[in-house]
Each structure stands twice: as C-alpha cells, then as structure tokens.
Subunit: 306 residues, 2 copies
C-alpha cells in the first residue's frame, strides 16, 4: 500500500455551493479552529471519516446569509455554529439543513463561539451526565490545562463544584497554576504530588471526588488500572465519553443541545467561560496554521479566520 500524508493533499479550491432549499440555510463562515481530531480525520486515523473528496473542519462559527422559505429557527444575520460533526467548516461559505446549525446569542465573542461545539460541550456533559453532583462536591481531572480541562474548571466553578486539577510538572509551574486558579481551579497539583501525603490536606477541606476525568494516555492510564480493585469493591464505573456520539445520539432531541448551548453562552456572556489561548490565522495561510497545529506543545489553538 501507499502511505500518504493526507495533510499535504489538502488544498484550497473554489467549489460551487449547493442551492438553498426550502429547509436550508446559507452561512458565511467567520472562524474555524484546527482541532487535533480534524488533523486525525485528514490523516485517516479518526474514528469517523467522511467520504472523499471532503471539506475539512468540524467546528466553527458563521453568520446566516440566507434562509429557505420554510426555515423558522434562524434568520439572516444570526450567529450559528454546527450542531454536529462533519459540516466542513474550513470554508468561506456553507449550505445545510437548518437542523445542522444552532443559533447563538449575537454577542458571543467570535473565538468563544468558534471553539464552543467540542470542548466546552464535552466538559459540560461529563460534569452533568455521569454523576449527580451538588455544590460543594469535588471533581478530580488530569490534563487540567487542556482545552477541555480549562472548560471543566470554569463550568465546575460556576456549578459550585470544587476541582482538583492534575498537571505535569514543568518549568513554569507556578505561572500555569496561577492561570488555572484565576479560572476557578480550587487545587492544582502535579502528577508527582498525587501520591504524596499533602493530598490528605486537600481532603480535610473538600470531600473525596465522586467523579474523576481522565483525558490523558500513558502513565495516567496506569492510574486507571490501579483503580480496577476499587472498580470491583467500591463499585467505581469507568466510562468513555465522545461528544460526537452524544450529538448523534441526541439528534432527534435538539432541545437538549439547545439547552446546553444556551447555558454555555450564558456563562461566556457572564465572563465565566473563556476561549482557550488562540492564534488567529487568515484562511489563505492555512498551511502555516496546519503546520503549527501538528506541532506538539504548541500551546495555542490555531483558528482560521475567513
């Protein structure tokens, strides 16, 4: 077989848009991030792959340009984001059924809107769907400085939960700790500190967590393994979560998606949920953005600006 670097095959093309049917809307894309899952999709290694040729990008924000005669949920000028994976957001314009989009309040900042559909939604669902948590309860997570981790910190803080945030040791540890605490993180500890007696000090102040979020592989999965004893005797449950599946599973209940998006936008507008650090790149410089997005430890999310 041939080993092809799908990223090198990506190119900018002029395509004809489908016509706007009665139930369709036409959207001018404004901004779209390059997520790791987008890269994996282009490389053909993601869990779901589009038929080729395909337009890349699954997340982003746009403004409605035109609506079909039977569209009722949005009007021209509205801000929308995709309601599902697979739209192809690395584009200047898109046409799709109105159900393929969710309307946002008009005053949501561009970068927040562009990065709302994946990470904050993942954080929201993980915090709400697996345990019934009350204010004062605690949650522990690793990878706390990831985009999902930052959303977890902020949403949990707004819910009145206490977060214990595990990060890898690093030269600028205090700086990162300060940043996460400014977002609402109650405790920031390194992986090394996890096994030290000082952890007990934390549990004098907050209850033991009933929810643990693991977004890291490698050594941290060993920590998952160490829980297998507890899995049996303490009835601990281990579940995977993939927001794309959640959206597909709830496609016929759009009110659930709308409720989540509305609550997240309320947090954004209240200044309680911010976008991760972003680098804005004009669409025509997409190769620069792709290269940056595939570099490890780049630290900021590449956002294509149309």
């Amino acid at each position: 077989g041939w080993l092809v670097d799908g990223l090198k095959l990506l190119q900018r093309m002029n395509l004809e848009l489908p016509s706007v049917g009665d139930y369709d809307i036409k959207v001018q894309m404004l901004a779209a991030p390059i997520n790791p899952s987008d890269i994996n999709m282009v490389q053909g290694t993601y869990a779901i792959l589009p038929d080729l040729p395909a337009i890349g990008g699954n997340e982003g924000v746009g403004r409605v340009l035109d609506v079909g005669s039977r569209v009722s949920s949005v009007k021209a000028g509205d801000l929308v984001i995709p309601s599902n994976t697979g739209l192809g957001t690395w584009a200047t314009e898109a046409v799709g059924n109105e159900s393929a989009f969710v309307k946002l309040p008009i005053d949501v900042p561009l970068l927040c809107a562009a990065t709302l559909a994946v990470n904050p939604c993942t954080a929201y669902r993980m915090l709400y769907d697996f345990e019934s948590l009350k204010p004062g309860d605690s949650v522990i997570q690793n990878g706390a400085n990831s985009a999902v981790g930052q959303a977890v910190i902020q949403i949990a803080h707004a819910m009145g939960l206490k977060t214990i945030n595990v990060i890898r040791d690093r030269p600028d540890l205090q700086k990162l700790t300060d940043r996460l605490q400014s977002m609402g993180a109650n405790y920031v500890v390194t992986e090394e500190a996890l096994r030290k007696p000082e952890m007990k000090e934390i549990f004098k102040e907050v209850p033991r967590p009933r929810l643990a979020l693991n977004c890291v592989g490698g050594k941290s999965t060993v920590e998952v393994l160490r829980q297998l004893h507890a899995l049996i005797f303490k009835d601990i449950k281990i579940r995977g979560f993939w927001v794309t599946r959640w959206k597909q599973d709830n496609i016929h209940e759009p009110s659930k998606l709308l409720k989540m998006i509305t609550e997240l936008c309320d947090l954004i507008r209240a200044g309680k949920l911010t976008a991760p650090a972003c680098t804005e790149v004009p669409l025509q410089d997409y190769r620069v953005a792709l290269e940056a997005a595939t570099k490890p430890f780049i630290g900021t999310k590449q956002i294509l600006i149309m």
Copy 2:
C-alpha cells in the same frame, strides 16, 4: 507492627448459641466451602472485615432445626443458604434472623447448594444486569475454567447465548476444552489464540460479543487497557461487579434474591448447572482443608462437611 498469619490463629471452639428469638431461625449447618475471599477475610486483606473474634465462612448450606414464633418463610427441615455475606458458616449450628437465610427446594444436591450463593449468583447477575442479551448473542470471558466461569458457561447456555471462553494454554488443554464444551461452552480458545486470524472464523458463526467478562488480573488487564480507545469511540462501558455489594444493595428487595435463587435451583435440578469440582473434608480436619485451599492451582474447592 506485628505480622500475624491469621490462618494459624483459627481454632475450633465450643461457643454458646444465641437463643432463638421470635423472628429467628436455628440452622444445622451441613456443608460450607472455603472460598478465596474467606481466606482473605481471615488474613485481613478483604474489602470487608468482621469485628473480631469472628466465625469464618460466608457460604454454605444448612437445615432448619427450629424457628421462632413469628417466622413464616421457613419451617423445621427446610434447606437454607445464607442470604448475605458474614454469617460465619464454618460452624455446626447457626442462629439468625429469618431474613439472613433463603430457602432452597429440598432436592438440591448438597454440594450445589453449598456453592450457590457466590459464584452462580455472580455469573447470573453479570449475564443479566449489564447488557440486555437475547438468544443467539455472544459473550466472551477469560478465566473460563474458574468457578464463576463455569457457572457463566452453564447459565449462558441455558439462556441460549453463545460463549467464547478464554483459558491459559496448558498441557491438558484438550481435556479442559472437552470438559468446558460438555458444560455448554461454544468456543474455547487460549489467550495466545485471541490475536490470531482464526478468531475471525468464530465471528463468521456468531455475532461479536456485546458483553465481555474479565475475572483475571495481570496480562488480561492490559487487554482491558487496550480497550480504552474503544471505550471512548465505541461507547464501551467498564464496570466492576461484586455480588456481596449487590446483595447488600438489594437487601430490602428479597424477592430479587429469591427469583435468582429459584431460577438457579431450577437449572441445578434440570442438570444444567453443576457444582465445581469439590473435595469434601470433615469439619474436624479443617486445617488440612485450609492448607489445601491456600495452595495455588489446587483445582478443586475444599468443602467442610459438618
């Protein structure tokens, strides 16, 4: 601290029985196995431990000798097993509230009755409580020749399920394979064969399993780890199961326990569920039985006969 071998401290004693209250029953114990969890309990390494001094043994069968004036569920002569962990079955007689016992049909063979409360109940719940399986569906399990594994094979067979049974390679592989197949095992494969193309032949005949039972540590837990990708993208759930917790959680719904026990006894009486290989040891020879029970690879379960 002192490191004490709890097993050496075990001794046979004459104790006075509590009097039989209005709601109590008095039972003549007939047979009680020495399970690995009993050993761990004596050694102080199990998840739940009794206050000391304590009578060992959590599983067994007895005959009702006497009942209190307000007891309605059993009468003298009935066969009973403990409904929960902690009774102390390594004894000639026991007294307890009637809720601490479940009545069995009188014609259940002694060794089947003595070994019913833990392993067959564990197998039953794992097959019924985690996935809704229909006849023709398949189940895969490792440790298939364990006592739980053998119960899984037989109960699954009676449910019309197809079992794929993973065992370790060994000199007498064919003999064990034949024995498991005589119990109803559809496929018996070694851990090594699991990754070989011949597995595909199995899935030409039966659907891919929707339930996988893991009762082994070590290498097999690595197989669990390998599923973490699938955990996220295929929505695979990993759950622990401990029948002792199930019994505690359902203590106020005795009808659920009774339904399970009744169904298992029906299978036993129909010849579809057999006891694991047992070695019967008179109670006075308990030290011989304990020594045999702590030897690895002993292959048969030690049953104290009172």
